[in-house]
Structure formats: structure tokens, C-alpha cells
């Protein structure tokens, strides 16, 4: 167990009561604005002392209010990428970056300076002061600074929110590589795409409470949580193996219950994680005819959640895994959907969320 967190705190007006455990890999902390994510992360870092709480990282008790234990932040060896960058205004970018290095224990491992600078694209900024950086540049330097302190655990509070898509696409694989190198990461994000791509474990916070916590695949496929992720963003993950690429450029994947085509190419035999937006799934009782080329997967309705509007979220079980579909409540009754009913999912679109599953530590 890499990280074990429980805390209770009353801000007066907002009360937090949350407990979760995070195994190795990336644990994403997801939740609406104001749900308590930063508070949790601050508690792990030692910057916030909750009314009651306990934090254990890699077997070491960092905080235990009942036992009166509270390690100061500097003895926790936890890197923290703050939601606001918090760069040191009196130091230039280089000095900000290397700030933590001299405090790291001799044997600690971590990426080296040149590597980090190159990856984050901040080579041209090294002599500047934070006051002369743009929003996104600050965010990148903050990531580098936390990494170069060679932490044993990394907290990232919406680290990519200020970055553009191409830059994000460059940094995400870097984060993945850190994870693969064995650095446990607690990652706060509002982006389901980021979570789908990075997270092994997903913890969902809502108004100070844990709404769900578990394997990312399971949590994302829970219809009861779909509203949390947003109507456009909700969707499940499926594991798949690459069968090969067809002449028309589409790649054929083998999932638990059927074949699926995606437009990204990937080497045959590799393992993927694909993301299926709930809004891209159409359900039909009968296998549709005349749509042979389409992605159609058979499954069984497991759960149906309705919201106060006209929306319904249907979870379709497919062996070990499950996908999520967004329908109108009218459609649910028209189709006679209910738990246990067998039906077919027509996938209008499928995206590869993570393409290196085969190499991961799991």
C-alpha cells in the first residue's frame, strides 16, 4: 500500500470527511470545484493539519492525530505541484528548479536537470524570474521544481490546467514515464481524459466526502457517478489487444466481448486502454443490421441511473468489464431496458486512452 489517507476537518461552512487508500501507480483525485481535493492534498503534504486524520505513506506514518504524530512537510519527502505555481519570486527559474535538490537525501533517485528542462520546454527561461513568465510557463517550472526535489511521492494539483493541448500532450507521457519508473503520484484533475489516460486508481470526491474509490475502470463505468464527470465526458474504459491494422487504416482491437476498430494505429499484440464516451454509445435490443463495419458489442444491462432531468445512464456489463451509455429516460422505457436485459452497444467513436498498457508495471 503506497498511501493511506483519512481525515476529518470542519472549516465551519464546509466539512471534510474522507478516507481512501491508494496502491502504487497514479491515483487520480477527481471532484467538483470546492469538493475538498486541495484540502486532501495539503493534508498529505503536511501543510494542513486536520481536526483528525491519519496519513501513511509507504509504511511510514506521516500524520496520526490520535497518536500526536505529525511529521513536518520537509521530512515527508513529498513533492507538491501546487494549484497556484508558488514559484519563489526572488530566484530565477534555474534556482527555483534546483531549490529542492540540495535537501534530497544522498541516495534519492529522480530525473536529472537536463531531462526535466528539455521535457518541459523551459530551457530558454532558465535565467528569467517568475515575474517574467506566462501562466503556462510558471506551471511548467512548478512541475520541474517538484520533480527535481527527488520526492518519494508526488502530489500534483491540476498541474496541466494552464497548458495548451500540444504542450499537455508532450508532458503527459513524461508523467507516465515517472509513474512507470515507480514514482507514486496523487493527481488532482478536472479532465476525464487525463484521468482516463493516467489513473490506475480513481478517487471521486463530492462535497467533502468520498463518492467512489477504486480501479479507474470500475469507477468510470459507474452510472451513479456519471453526472460528476459531466454529460459530455462521462464514459468507460475497456482493455483491448491490438489485432492488426486493416487496409483502410483502421486498427482492429480485440475486447472482452467483441472486435472494435479505432483510427489510431498501434503495433499488433500490444495492449491498450480505450475510452468510450457514454454519449457515443447507442443501445439496441437486437443487433443492428446493415451496419457490419460498425463497432458493435453485446452485453447485459447491469445498472440504470436516472437524473432529475430526462437523462439515464446505463451500465452494460461485458464480462470482466463494463461500458456506460447515455440515453434519454424515454429511450430506456421504449427499449424496455432493465437490469439483466441483454442488448447491443453501438459505439459511434472509440479513442485510445492509454497505449502502453503492455509495458506498465501492472
Amino acid at each position: 500500500m503506497m498511501l493511506e489517507v483519512s481525515l476529518r476537518h470542519d472549516f465551519g461552512g464546509f466539512a471534510l470527511d474522507a478516507a481512501f487508500t491508494a496502491p502504487a501507480g497514479v491515483t487520480a483525485l477527481f471532484g467538483a470545484s470546492g469538493s475538498g481535493k486541495t484540502t486532501v492534498v495539503n493534508t498529505v503534504a503536511g501543510l494542513m493539519r486536520p481536526d483528525a486524520g491519519r496519513v501513511v505513506a509507504q509504511g511510514e506514518v506521516l500524520l496520526d492525530t490520535t497518536a500526536g504524530i505529525s511529521l513536518p512537510p520537509n521530512r515527508r519527502r513529498i513533492g507538491y505541484v501546487f494549484q497556484d505555481a508558488r514559484l519563489f519570486p526572488h530566484l530565477d527559474v534555474r534556482a527555483n528548479l534546483v531549490f529542492g535538490a540540495r535537501f534530497a537525501p544522498r541516495g534519492a533517485s529522480g530525473p536529472d536537470f537536463g531531462r526535466v528542462v528539455e521535457m518541459l520546454g523551459i530551457g530558454a527561461l532558465l535565467e528569467r524570474r517568475p515575474g517574467a513568465l506566462s501562466g503556462g510557463e510558471k506551471a511548467r517550472v512548478a512541475i520541474g521544481r517538484a520533480l527535481l526535489s527527488k520526492p518519494r511521492l508526488l502530489l500534483m494539483d491540476e498541474p496541466l490546467a494552464a497548458l495548451d493541448a500540444p504542450r499537455r500532450a508532450e508532458i503527459l507521457p513524461f508523467v507516465e514515464r515517472l509513474r512507470d519508473a515507480g514514482l507514486p503520484i496523487l493527481y488532482v484533475s478536472h479532465s476525464v481524459a487525463e484521468v482516463a489516460r493516467l489513473a490506475d486508481t480513481l478517487v471521486v470526491l463530492g462535497e467533502g466526502r468520498i463518492l467512489a474509490s477504486g480501479r479507474a475502470e470500475d469507477v468510470l463505468a459507474d452510472p451513479a457517478l456519471a453526472a460528476q464527470f459531466g454529460a459530455q465526458e462521462a464514459g468507460a474504459l475497456l482493455r483491448a489487444r491490438v489485432l492488426g491494422t486493416d487496409a483502410d487504416g483502421l486498427t482492429r482491437l480485440q475486447t472482452a466481448t467483441g472486435t472494435v476498430w479505432v483510427s489510431q494505429s498501434a503495433p499488433a499484440g500490444s495492449e491498450l486502454r480505450i475510452r468510450i464516451h457514454a454519449s457515443d454509445v447507442i443501445l439496441a435490443r437486437e443487433a443492428p443490421q446493415g451496419l457490419s463495419a460498425l463497432n458493435i458489442l453485446p452485453g447485459t444491462v447491469e445498472k440504470i441511473e436516472t437524473d432529475s432531468g430526462q437523462r439515464a445512464w446505463v451500465q452494460l456489463r461485458m464480462g470482466e468489464e463494463a461500458i456506460l451509455a447515455r440515453l434519454t429516460q424515454r429511450s430506456v422505457s421504449a427499449l424496455g431496458l432493465a437490469p439483466g436485459v441483454a442488448c447491443h452497444a453501438i459505439l459511434k467513436s472509440v479513442a485510445v486512452a492509454r497505449d502502453d498498457l503492455a509495458q506498465t508495471h501492472k
Binding site: 520537509n74 507538491y80 497556484d84 519563489f88 519570486p89 531549490f99 515575474g131 517538484a146
Partner: protein
């Protein structure tokens, strides 16, 4: 200007030495007290705070008289210090430095304290997550950020030390070549009929020296502040 008599020249160098030593020696103490006052949360802190303000509140003569009673060779503290460390303040330039340091202390502490209170604790938190101990945080984050305040405090104390008269003359008297600082010399000159011009000349020298110091330090402080703001 050049018409400085040897005694006056002595008074000037003595004043510079006194003010310099007073500032240098009280700087670390002032910084520590400012930190405690700005960050401490003990119930008895108001007493320390009141104590620090005392030299400002009391007429300088009274402060000087207290110093004389306490740090004189017959005073309890003075006798102890002389016995234990051979440190004598009474009627020495060291005593003038002590008086100047005491009189400038509230000014120094206040400036530093304001600066400390303006530091964003979030930056210090960030440093601690990067592994810096409390001392390291102070050295590498807090201190650089409060540098303009520290300089301001030192300048105020230096200026005050250059001008301090009441407490000094009361504590260490006005012995030419030993404890006669520039202000004492000015006072002495003012006691002589027709001494106004001498006094004016000495005052001008004092002003030129102190103002130069003030402006120089201002200049340094501005540069430091600009560096912090980052450009």
C-alpha cells in the same frame, strides 16, 4: 568642511564606529526579535513587544539613566559583564554603541517585523515541501524576501545612532576622544557663545554622512526589491 579640528575628526570617526557597531551587533538580535514578534503565538509576547518599544517611549535621558544604573561599573549588569567577560560599557565607546543600539532597536525591529508579516507563508510552505527545514526556509526564502525590510531597519537604526544624543551623553558622558560622538560635540559647541557655526558645520557633516548612508542603502534596497519583483 575641511576645517575639521582634530577633536571633531575624532568625534566623526567615533560616531561612525559607534553607529556601525551598534547596527551590526543589534541586527541579528533585532531580526530574531522581529521574527518572534511577527510569528510567535505565546501569551507573554506582549511584554517583549512593550519592552522593545520602551526606548522610544521614554525620554532618552531616562533611557540613558537606566543604562547608567544597570550597565555602569557599579550597576548589576555592568558589574557582572565586567567580571564574567571583561566587557565594560561605562564611559567607553562601547557604551555609546550600546546606547545607540538600544535607542535604534524599536525602529529596527518594527521595520523588519513589517517585512516579515508581508511575506506570503505559502512560499515558505512550498519551500518546506521541497525538503527545506525551518532554518533553511528562513535562510533561503524568508530572509531574501525581507531583505528590503532588513535594510530599512538597519538604515533607520544607523540614522538614529548617528543622531542619538540624550541617552548617550547620559550613559557614557561626553569625554572627547572617548565617548564624544558627533551629536555630543554639536551639543558642546552649542553651549559656547558663538558656537552656532561650529555646531552647524558639525551638523552638516553628520547629515552628509548619514544621508549618504541612507541613500546608498535605499539604492541597494531598491535593487533588491526590483530583483524580487523580477524583471
Amino acid at each position: 568642511m575641511t576645517g575639521l579640528t582634530p577633536e571633531e575628526a575624532t568625534a566623526l570617526t567615533l560616531s561612525l564606529r559607534v553607529a556601525g557597531v551598534a547596527v551590526l551587533v543589534s541586527l541579528p538580535v533585532g531580526l530574531a526579535v522581529a521574527m518572534v514578534l511577527a510569528r510567535g503565538r505565546w501569551p507573554g509576547l506582549w511584554l517583549l513587544n512593550a519592552l522593545v518599544h520602551l526606548p522610544l517611549i521614554l525620554p532618552p535621558v531616562v533611557t540613558g539613566y537606566f543604562l547608567l544604573l544597570a550597565f555602569g561599573r557599579k550597576g548589576p549588569v555592568g558589574a557582572f559583564l565586567e567580571q564574567a567577560f571583561g566587557l565594560v560599557f561605562a564611559f567607553r565607546w562601547t557604551g555609546a554603541a550600546l546606547a545607540a543600539a538600544v535607542m535604534g532597536f524599536p525602529l529596527m525591529v518594527r521595520a523588519m517585523r513589517l517585512a516579515i508579516e508581508a511575506v506570503d507563508p505559502k512560499l515558505e510552505e512550498a519551500a518546506s515541501t521541497l525538503g527545506a527545514s525551518r532554518l533553511a526556509v528562513f535562510r533561503s526564502v524568508t530572509l531574501p524576501l525581507i531583505l528590503p525590510g532588513v535594510i530599512a531597519g538597519a538604515v533607520l537604526a544607523f540614522a538614529k545612532a548617528m543622531g542619538e544624543f540624550g541617552a548617550t551623553i547620559t550613559f557614557v558622558s561626553n569625554i572627547p576622544g572617548q565617548t564624544q560622538t558627533l551629536p555630543s560635540a554639536i551639543y558642546t559647541a552649542l553651549q559656547v557663545p558663538g558656537g552656532d557655526t561650529t555646531a552647524g558645520r558639525l551638523a552638516l557633516i553628520s547629515v552628509i554622512v548619514a544621508v549618504s548612508a541612507v541613500l546608498l542603502s535605499e539604492f541597494i534596497a531598491r535593487r533588491v526589491a526590483a530583483r524580487i519583483r523580477g524583471a
